[in-house]
Amino acid sequence: MAILDVRNLSVDYLAGECALHAVEGVSFRLEQGRSLGLVGESGCGKTTVMMALLRLLPQEGRIVDGQVVFDGRDLLQMTEAEMRRVRWCEMSMVFQGAMNALNPVRTVESQIVEVLLLHDAVDRPRAARRRAGELLEMVGIPAQRGRQYPHQYSGGMRQRAVIAMALACNPRVLIADEPTTALDVMIQAQILELLERLQAELNLSLIVVTHDLGMVAELCDDVLVMYGGMIAEYASGDELFNMPQHPYTRRLLEAFPDVEAPGSTLASIPGNPPRLDALPPGCRFEPRCDFEGRTAACGQEAPLPVEVSPGHLVACHWARRNL
């Protein structure tokens, strides 16, 4: 059974009188010990989906439809008190830019200890400090450096510390939102390797939210491509990178520079992602789509995801017609 089963999740943001549909009908499943990459441009709703899973949406956000079944229980039906026991202890998140949100006037160790005590993972401060040291060692930071302050750490070390903090209460699912953006290439590779190792050692289920397709190709078993708040394509990594079906996925892959074929032209996707207050009536990618298989239907009706091969979902009229 899947540890996390998201069904038809829809999120609105209230802006004055009107509701903006930030996420519509997103579904995916995550098995224990597997990894999922959630890919899309800025503003496509990928962070909103993760915030909705943990029920951490800002005040204007509303989950209007759907279920989030975690280990057999629907998180959306839980009380706030029950939800608090899920967050961090069972499902934990490394937020985007969290490495810059560490408290500058407290030592790294004390910030991890605070998590452990707050979530009752340990009951004594001394045990908490020992556990904090273990966590730091686990992500490759010498335990004694826990007594230092965040400004004494480099960017890569701060990111490691934040990952250690997210793993403090032995969660089963770890969500990492843009874990390598703003880091140097070599440090990115170190973090990638760390996530790979932790996932194998702890049998973690991992969700990586990113716009970096390379990271997803390296790390993830399954990939979900989002566009304009909806699923564009959902498939195993191998199938998505080698047999992409959705025109958006294809363009995204063409736009990714490949160092083994330098000099070849780099394609870009003309136009901009749709604004939430002016969503196109049909397929959300239609205004930017230049695929020859386009029809009038693309501009009128939003395509529903169809299964083109086992486990490979595509939301495109063309794919549906060619079944």
């Binding site: 441009e41 800025s42 480099s154 960017g155 890569g156 140097d184 290439v185 070599m186 440090i187 990115q188 590779a189 170190q190 990638l192 390797e193 716009h211 970096d212 397709l213 390379g214 990271m215 190709a217 390296e218 990594g237 191998d238 990178f241 080698n242 363009r251 995204l252 892959l253 736009a255 990714f256 520079p257 490949d258 160092v259 083994e260 330098p262 000099g263 070849s264 032209t265 780099l266 394609a267 870009s268 996707i269 003309p270 901009n272």
Partner: protein, 347 residues
Amino acid sequence: METQPILEVSDLHKHFPLARGVWGTLTRMPCRTVRAVDGVSFCVEQREILALVGESGSGKTTVGMNVLGLQQPTQGHVCFDGVDVAEWVHGRGVSVESNAQLSGVSRRRRVMILRERAQMIFQDPYESLNPRQKIFDIVAEPLEIHRLTASREEKAERVRLALETCGLAPADHFWSRFPAELSGGQRQRVAIAGALVLEPRLLVADEPVSMLDVSIRAEILNLLHTLRRERGITILYTTHDLATAGFFTDRMAVMYLGRIVELGPTAAVLSEPRHPYTRALISVIPAPNPRRRRKRQILQGEIPNAIDIPPGCRFHPRCPMAVEACRVSDPPLREVAPGHRVACHLA
């Protein structure tokens, strides 16, 4: 045909002294310095795109600052258009006096001539544009400062041309807006238009795409490529991303801790890297396909700080291949193939 390089950097050093504090001053402790750039030499030909690749702390941005005369080198020279940039900006020297356009011109005017010829594009278009200025004013400001346009119509025409060259067409659709109304890619286009409106011959682009989404990066890089082709602009492109540098630059210089460790034609550097650092950098670029997952050669630790530079080859503490000679002597940059130079004992 012998072409004069537009930009010639020779043995450039830029050291920043560290404050000693009260105790340090009283006890006359030796003054420590950050050796941000420590002996860098390269040339850029007219119409060439040179990538300066390196991690944070490698000194690539400092090189860019010195090229534009925003900092004065501790040692060494930067020659742009045959004139020493430090003399150009700060004082009179032989190279300024012997230049017909610059001799006998006030310092203020000389700096303005430099700015008309060399411009910079900054990393973050969310920070580099004034949020309270309209797009038109942002792009027109250089023209006003340099008093380059006689009439309002001429100014509008040049702003229109700059915006439309940068893919913001029709220009009047954009120029009355504020930066907040534009997407990240469009903002970076505005920043480039602001640099282009003076029609410079050299652009220093400091990580121009690292803040942008992958789908938009390609557009900005293609734009830079077009500018070179159609206007013959020379570009110095600094980045930490070998993959984007690989696809549109002519030559590539890989920097480590204030030095160039490898310099050569981009295709040669990427296909036959000779320096272990370059090899490691290339091996960690993610391949956009799970079937091509490679063995990553991850260097442990981070680039050391530029105060305590290791003796010998400065890369040896992290080098997987280091031998005894690397601990002792500093390898010079030497030619291993035509135009391909490497600073490594083992190359």
